[in-house]
Symmetry: C2
Subunit: 110 residues, 2 copies
């Protein structure tokens, strides 16, 4: 168990990075095997093209996501997680497990 | 290992909840044993009174944080995590570990 000190600027930055609107869900979609732009978009209800493109750009700049252009006809673009992005899997899983236990249908009485 | 489907509205909600500006760091501060308002505030550089009060209110409404008024003179107010808030500890730890490995001083060459 790592010791949690009261504040850590890197943790703060990590929360902002993953917590930015849609970023958490985009990460999860790619982790779940959605790699093509259109696949990612259709997986996430409500995300606009502008927003998705912007988030993917940011995630590429931050080194989480690798954009691959596949020279087919027509050209195909895929997004894959880098090693740094893959390393977020335990955090995404932990948050998903929490959401399942505390925000899921059982908790809401559905 | 739980299976990650492409999208989950509860996970999306969880990311927004923890990822809201300052919320992740407030959670961490309380997990690290800072319970009094002034302690939490002094732990997190840059957070304003308005923002901290608003976030603590939201986290109380969402059932993550329990506000306790301790009838001393002067009255003391403490914030503690509820069971639902405590359950976020693995996610906070996983994100903190990632931040330490990938955003820490070694990675930045400091």
């Amino acid at each position: 168990m790592m010791d949690l000190s009261g504040f850590c600027p890197h943790y703060h930055q990590a929360v902002q990075l993953v917590g930015r609107r849609w970023s958490g869900s985009i990460l999860r979609a790619i982790m779940a095997g959605r790699h093509r732009y259109a696949e990612i978009r259709s997986t996430i209800p409500g995300v606009s093209d502008t927003m998705l493109a912007q988030r993917l750009n940011e995630m590429e700049r931050e080194g989480l996501v690798d954009r691959r252009v596949i020279p087919e006809s027509p050209v195909r673009v895929e997004y894959h997680l880098t090693e740094k992005g893959q390393a977020l899997l335990p955090a995404v899983r932990a948050l998903a497990a929490w959401a399942d236990a505390w925000l899921g249908p059982k908790e809401n009485g559905d």
